[in-house]
């Protein structure tokens, strides 16, 4: 397969970026998108040009590092997968593929397709954890948890923190990410204890870091590689409002 790639190139956070066009040829249909990017970079290095910088790590859809906006979709046109799990057979042979970095004020571009997603880490540090003893291993079933709650918690915990939600949202809102974190812990007895403090702290940090306000369009769940539901946003709203009303 042959493709024309329109890729955003930007030297650093302060530089003005622009699209550059590249050709890749003889790509196997079973090549993953990131492998195709590796082939492109290999060619560029051989030509003595600067390779395209992009984030990647596990390449099996669990680390949340890959972050490209491909043909208008976060993580490309495949449903419910990260960029690394998408294959070139998803694209039409000979087509032009436009690749952009996440666009959100809270995710500044560092270089080419790499953005700084440290804002999500800061939100997590504000309350996305539980405070427990960490020495001995507790019994697995010491606290019985209803299956429904465990399932909902796990669905929310599937969030890999890739930033696709804020990058997709027309308001640059991080609500789906924050909601997934708050929801996954709120549904479990271990996390329930700090539920009120967590919801308040994480929303406050999210607002402080310049993310926008959720207007319930649902674009985030449509583009989320882990299919996180906006029902978790409703739970975050409940958690936050209940916590504030108790103050």
């Amino acid at each position: 397969m042959n493709f024309t790639l329109k890729i955003w190139r930007q030297r650093d956070a302060k530089s003005q970026g622009a699209f550059e066009t590249y050709k890749v040829t003889d790509i196997s249909a079973d090549t993953s998108f990131l492998e195709m990017m590796d082939i492109l970079n290999n060619n560029l290095i051989h030509e003595g040009k600067e390779p395209v910088a992009f984030d990647h790590d596990c390449r099996e859809g669990i680390c949340g590092m890959c972050s490209m906006h491909i043909n208008g979709h976060a993580h490309g046109p495949s449903q419910a997968v990260t960029t690394c799990q998408m294959y070139m057979r998803k694209f039409k042979d000979g087509s032009t593929i436009t690749i952009e970095p996440w666009r959100s004020a809270a995710f500044p571009v560092i270089r080419d397709l790499v953005v700084d997603r440290g804002a999500y880490d800061k939100i997590l540090q504000a309350g996305g954890f539980i405070s427990v003893r960490t020495n001995s291993v507790p019994d697995g079933n010491a606290i019985p948890i209803p299956k429904k709650d465990a399932d909902e918690s796990m669905d929310a915990a599937a969030c890999v923190g890739c930033g696709a939600c804020a990058a997709t949202c027309k308001n640059g809102s991080a609500m789906l990410f924050v909601a997934a974190r708050v929801s996954s812990l709120a549904k479990l007895p271990q996390g329930r204890v700090e539920g009120a403090r967590r919801a308040k702290a994480m929303v406050a940090k999210m607002d402080e870091l310049g993310f926008g306000n959720c207007t319930n369009t649902g674009a985030c769940q449509a583009q989320c590689p882990k299919s996180i539901s906006i029902a978790h946003i409703a739970r975050l709203n409940r958690e936050f409002l209940a916590a504030k009303l108790q103050d």
């Binding site: 666009r103 004020a105 999210m206 207007t215 709203n237």
Partner: protein, 247 residues
């Protein structure tokens, strides 16, 4: 407690939700009131007399104006905030995400059309009715179909309605207004439950169905009155031109 309604994203959305809910309830009342004119012009004017410049009607108007102002001002605050959060650099390629309604992404534009329509509506009716009574003036001036001046009692709402909708372009303006309101409500009605935290995956289809029903009821309720008044304007004007208040 008051601060989270002004300084947190979730709190501000709750204000949008509650003020929106209040406005929907008012619109439903207004629509029901309007339908009276189809059955009895006398009965409609009786309601107009009841809702004149009495203290309760004025208090109601003040609360209503406050509700509109809050919903409007918060919408602008949130939108400016969201615009900043989105960042200066926008995507070169965007798509309409699956399951994302057009209305949900254009609520501000639809809201502005609704407010502009409201302005026209206030000039057509409120300024000739309640305002006239507040100004302690008995009559307002109108122009009849032949271009001659005539006086309208401020409680003669049925005549004003027939007179306003006797002009086809007013009917068109009002129908466009109702259509914008329909779009606004198809997203707004279910969205207010989500923002307040009362929603989940089971209830999304139900809430969205409810939103469509409410929006359509409101559209049809208002539209039928405008259209019938247009078709029967001659009869209604002849019937009500010599009406005198009964209360």
């Amino acid at each position: 407690m008051s601060c989270f309604l002004t300084n947190s994203s979730v709190g501000k959305k709750l204000v949008m939700s509650i003020s929106g809910c209040f406005l929907v309830l008012f619109i439903l009342f207004h629509m029901s009131m309007n339908l009276t004119v189809l059955f009895s012009r006398e009965a409609y004017n009786l309601i107009c007399e009841f809702l004149g410049a009495n203290w309760y009607a004025l208090a109601g108007t003040a609360v209503l104006a406050f509700g509109v102002a809050v919903h409007f001002i918060y919408a602008f605050i949130l939108t400016i905030n969201n615009y900043r959060a989105r960042g200066k650099q926008r995507y070169a390629v965007t798509v309409q995400e699956k399951g994302v309604s057009w209305a949900s992404k254009n609520m501000l534009v639809l809201g502005i059309i609704v407010v502009l329509g409201l302005g026209i509506h206030l000039i057509h009716f409120w300024s000739k009715m309640q305002l006239v009574e507040v100004m302690h003036s008995q009559f307002a001036l109108g122009i009849d179909a032949n271009g001659a001046e005539f006086t309208v009692h401020p409680a003669n709402g049925a005549l004003l309605m027939a007179y306003t909708f006797s002009k086809w372009y007013n009917v068109v303006i009002y129908l466009v207004w109702f259509a914008a309101l329909w779009f606004h409500l198809t997203h707004g009605v279910w969205s207010m439950f989500q923002s307040a935290g009362f929603a989940n995956d089971t209830w999304y289809p139900r809430l969205k169905c409810l939103a469509n029903i409410v929006a359509t009821l409101i559209f049809l309720g208002f539209a039928v009155v405008a259209v019938v008044c247009f078709l029967k304007s001659g009869d209604y004007i002849a019937e009500m031109v010599n009406w005198t208040p009964g209360l």
